[in-house]
């Protein structure tokens, strides 16, 4: 097992129980095999058991692929541990491959000596051909490097269900439960959470519910009774911060964060969006929450979505819009309008691999410069980026705090990895969260549409329905104070600088960047967004090996944390891993004239810890 450090041997009947501190399992099968479900259930159970967890679903391209084909493979990786963990693990310790295509597309990630469980029933000629295998890999010795377990999962599953009253197809759909049961046994997890879930999900459909339960148990008992598996394992609880936890994906966390901001501000949330992978789930989530007064508007396109959000903000709601890269491109012009009219607005962008349609289900950090500059003219906006799935909650609230306080569009820059990945979330106490004051203008005597708060430079939020505050806004340049249309050269220059200065002022109330490790000297590994987990882990490991390396991560991308320049100046070398060709690195080099080095990959996947560790070794020997 890759990350097993302490292993304690115990005897339980004829089989051994080995204690591990971290295990990573990857379930892989056809899109129709229910792998996401098996993975999610494993995650929940482990979370409830008290492990720290991290997951990474690897969903095939948007379109459905033929059954058994290579592009049709769907995977779900879950890492669970007795320690704090920050990533779903580089490589799985265990690979469950439900068919030849799943084996083919995943085996290269399994390290030598890794545990490989295959559903041998599916390794027939048809499926081997679909996966472009010339010979059966189960027989040709190519799997020699792994601890291979051939389990006739389909046969065993069907046998267990022969009296279930289900059709053959229905029975076959339960085999993910069989595989899950086997894994539960192998890692000493109880079945209760999943049994409970089955009951809830299929309750009404008795036959199906019972069959799923039977399959789950059959898998479990198969592990317990068969001689094949000599060992099973135990991963103790992690020492997590005490409190109430749930598992959450980044998109779910963002949705909850947005609703929370609405509650904190006492203003309704309005979500204008057009479906797009991987952001659509936020629409699905928010659409469920009508009882919070949330209005979701599925617009005809991304432009209408942001237009509606701007209209809602003009009316005093929290106008939110969400999308992914190509959709952000379409919103460019309207974001410029929001900059000019200086209304609160949050634009969520769940980045995916580009350019153009790119690889919609894959992750990337390559929309940063689009978020910074993708509009005509000098058009500054604030940008925040969550570091982890659960941090999406915090940064969603933070985005709204900034948007409302500074009357500005804020881009919330998530990515597919955060949005679809999950981790345990320490459920916050909402009463402890600071209120957000919408601070509407009400005084008709003193009202000036473009007068500014001297501290924040924010202009008044004067919403329709307020007597005496009738005024006109728009995309033409505004005269200072009055907000009338102005072509005066000096006024334009002033307003351009005021808008820039306002965004700079956001830096007055955002936190300094905190360095983990040495406070100066050696190598600083700097990150933003979803690289947090890998960087933290890689730096911890390198430090454990005695290397002089520190880590820092920031979540406010524009403006930057106020101390960032000072921090950069304190280190001999700075390394910035990014899942792009060096976008933030460019901004920092320009601003601080520091020769930051880049570690860049743009392959649609998150960094592995090893990739960052190797680069650290290369730079600090």
């Amino acid at each position: 097992m890759g990350s097993a450090t302490a292993a304690e041997s115990q005897s339980s009947g004829q089989q051994e129980v080995l204690e591990l501190d971290r295990v990573t399992i990857r379930f892989a099968g056809d899109s129709g095999d229910g792998m996401q479900l098996a993975g999610t259930q494993f995650t929940k159970t482990s979370a409830v058991l008290g492990n720290d967890i991290s997951t990474f679903p690897d969903i095939p391209a948007e379109i459905r692929a033929p059954q058994g084909s290579l592009p049709g493979v769907s995977g779900f990786q879950v890492s669970f541990s007795s320690q704090d963990i920050y990533t779903p693990g580089d490589q799985p310790d265990v690979l469950v491959a439900m068919n030849p295509a799943a084996l083919k597309t995943n085996i290269m990630d399994l390290p030598r000596g890794g545990l490989l469980v295959v559903n041998e029933d599916e390794f027939n000629d048809t499926n081997l051909k679909k996966a472009a295998y010339a010979a059966n890999p189960l027989d040709d010795g190519s799997l020699q490097p792994y601890r291979l377990y051939r389990v006739p999962i389909s046969t065993l599953n069907n046998r267990a269900l022969k009296d279930s009253g289900l059709t053959a197809v229905q029975m076959d759909r339960c085999k993910n439960m069989f595989a899950l049961g086997l894994m539960f046994w192998m890692y000493s997890r109880p079945l209760e959470t999943t049994l409970h879930w089955i009951e809830e999900k299929f309750g009404k459909n008795r036959d199906v519910a019972e069959a799923n339960k039977t399959a789950l148990k059959a898998g479990y008992y198969f592990g317990e009774t068969t001689e094949a598996f000599a060992t099973h394992y135990h991963v103790p609880k992690a020492k997590l911060k005490p409190g109430l936890y749930r598992n959450i994906t980044g998109n779910e966390a963002a949705a909850l964060g947005f609703i929370t901001a609405s509650k904190l501000a006492g203003r309704p949330l309005f979500y204008g969006s057009y479906p797009i992978t991987p952001a659509s789930d936020v629409l699905h989530e928010l659409a469920r929450f009508k009882r919070f007064g949330v209005k979701t508007f599925q617009a005809e396109d991304e432009i209408a979505a942001i237009g509606a959000a701007i209209g809602a903000s003009f009316g005093g709601s929290l106008g939110l819009t969400g999308t992914s890269g190509p959709g952000l491109a379409l919103k460019s012009e309207a974001i410029g309008l929001a900059v000019m009219v200086e209304l609160p607005l949050v634009i969520m962008n769940v980045q995916r691999a580009g350019p153009s349609t790119g690889m919609p289900t894959k992750t990337e950090q390559a929309d940063l410069l689009q978020a910074m500059f993708g509009r005509n003219g000098e058009s500054p906006v604030a940008i925040v980026a969550p570091a982890t799935a659960s941090d999406c909650f915090n940064m969603a609230v933070e985005a709204w705090r900034i948007a409302i306080k500074y009357r500005t569009p804020v881009i919330f820059l998530s990515d597919g990895y955060l949005g679809m990945g999950s981790e345990p979330w320490l459920v916050p106490d909402t009463n402890a969260l600071p209120r957000i004051d919408p601070d509407f203008a009400t005084d008709a005597e003193t009202f000036q549409p473009y007068a500014r708060n001297p501290e924040t430079l924010a202009r008044p939020w004067a919403i329709p329905g307020t007597p005496g505050l009738e005024h006109r806004i728009g995309g033409l340049e505004k005269a200072d104070i009055t907000g009338n249309v102005s072509y005066d050269p000096a006024n334009h220059d002033k307003m351009v600088r005021l808008r820039a200065e306002k965004i700079e002022r956001v830096a007055q109330d955002i936190p300094d960047v905190i360095v983990e490790g040495d406070q100066s000297g050696g190598l600083l590994v700097l990150g933003w967004g979803s690289t947090y987990g890998v960087i933290t882990t890689a730096v911890q490991r390198a430090r454990a090996e005695g290397k002089k390396v520190s880590a820092a991560h920031f979540r406010h991308l524009n403006p930057l944390p106020p101390n960032l320049g000072d921090v950069l100046a304190r280190y001999d070398k700075v390394l910035m891993p990014e899942i792009n060709l060096g976008q933030m690195r460019m901004l920092l080099r320009a601003k601080f004239l520091v020769d930051i080095q880049g570690l860049n990959k743009v392959n649609g996947r998150p960094f592995t810890i090893a990739e960052v560790e190797n680069k650290i070794s290369e730079m600090v020997g």
């Binding site: 929940k44 979370a47 409830v48 008290g50 020492k239 997590l240 911060k241 005490p242 109430l244 936890y245 749930r246 598992n247 909850l256 609703i259 929370t260 309704p268 309005f270 204008g272 929450f289 009508k290 009882r291 919070f292 007064g293 209005k295 508007f297 617009a299 005809e300 432009i303 209408a304 942001i306 237009g307 509606a308 701007i310 209209g311 809602a312 903000s313 003009f314 009316g315 005093g316 709601s317 012009e333 309207a334 410029g336 459920v427 909402t430 009400t442 919403i463 329709p464 329905g465 307020t466 007597p467 005496g468 505050l469 009738e470 005024h471 006109r472 806004i473 728009g474 995309g475 249309v485």
Partner: protein, 347 residues
């Protein structure tokens, strides 16, 4: 709460002047937009809506400057997108009276898609389309309503794209209220604006507007005072379709076509004429009327169609109410704890 509505009784009596801003009106002298502005300002005091609850939203174009001159809340947005901003505002604040001011380019060129969708949703707003069959603000290119073959700056050899009929487009997009007015016919315009405001759902009003700089006289063949009564027909609900200086002509349905007939000639009487029914659920007759063009037919003016259909903003508010009634108001703690939770104890 600042967003609270004032009751009708609390609203002070307003006059046209209350709706005039301090901004100098900047259209070319003689532009048809002046009249549309004047009628709009005139109608406002009679709507029974407090000034602070009225919002004018426009795109870009000469016409789209109108909000600057209306002393209400106003938003001069970006080209073609006014319906989207209006939709977000109305859906989130159904109590406001929301007006969209747009041009033929703004609404039907760059903004065509939003028009389709706001109409099918039946968002309860008013859309006033200043149709001058030209791009005024950008100084004279042809628009999607310019006639085929028109020579403009961007079509020195004449256009080759057939124009859209704004009202046909609207009816094809499920419009519930469709009307047409004329810049120079103040009375009819006032009627149309009032009706538009009263209608619950999207009201789509096309106003033929003369751009005396880049497209002077575009409508004069039928709209000039001297010929108007002979070459246009004002639609009146429940009344037979009669027109002409002497009200001597009418429209009759023959086979599947409309034909112009003369009352008293060939035995035609009023009872043979089509009776206008703006409330017909089936939009086909309204569509047919939207195809009528001078010189083959008199140009129909007034309200073509006004039917009842639930509004988007109304349904949205209702849905929220129903969900809250059924499920109770949302509690954060409850959705925070959706799915399986577990507790990590302090050790």
């Amino acid at each position: 709460m600042v967003t609270a509505q004032r009751n009708a009784s609390e609203i002070p009596v307003l006059t046209r002047k209350d709706f005039v801003t301090d901004q100098e009106v900047r259209w070319c002298p003689g532009c048809g937009d002046y009249s549309i502005l004047a009628q709009t300002q005139k109608v406002m005091p009679d709507l029974g809506v407090a000034k602070e609850n009225i919002v004018f939203i426009s795109g870009i174009g000469c016409s789209s400057r109108l909000p600057y001159y209306m002393n209400t809340f106003g938003f001069h947005s970006i080209h073609g997108r006014a319906p989207t901003i209006a939709s977000g505002l109305k859906a989130s604040r159904p109590e406001l009276s929301v007006w969209v001011v747009t041009g033929d380019g703004d609404a039907l060129s760059i903004g065509g898609n939003h028009i389709l969708h706001v109409l099918r949703r039946n968002m309860d707003i008013q859309i006033i389309l200043h149709n001058n069959e030209i791009y005024g603000l950008t100084k004279g290119q042809y628009s999607p309503t310019s006639e085929l073959g028109k020579r403009t700056k961007s079509s020195p050899y004449g256009t080759i794209d057939a124009p859209l009929h704004p009202l046909s487009v609207a009816i094809g997009a499920e419009a519930t209220f469709v009307a047409r007015a004329l810049d120079t016919d103040a009375q009819l315009m006032v009627q149309c604006l009032e009706r538009a405001h009263k209608h619950r759902g999207t009201s789509f009003v096309e106003v033929y507007q003369n751009c005396n700089i880049f497209n002077d006289g575009a409508f004069k063949d039928f709209a000039a005072k001297e010929v108007r009564s002979d070459r246009t027909i004002v639609l009146e609900h429940g009344k037979p379709m009669i027109f002409g200086k002497e009200r001597e002509k009418g429209l009759r349905f023959n086979g599947m076509r409309i034909e112009v007939v003369e009352i008293g000639v060939d035995g035609v009487t009023e009872s043979d004429l089509l009776v206008h029914d703006e409330e017909r659920d089936d939009p086909t007759v309204a569509f047919l009327l939207s195809r009528m063009e001078w010189p083959e037919y008199p140009v129909p003016m007034g309200v073509f169609r006004a039917v009842k259909r639930p509004t988007y903003d109304g349904l949205m508010a209702k849905q929220l109410e129903e969900v809250i009634a059924a499920e109770g108001e949302g509690e954060l703690s409850e959705i925070f704890l959706e799915g399986d939770t577990w507790t990590v104890e302090a050790e």
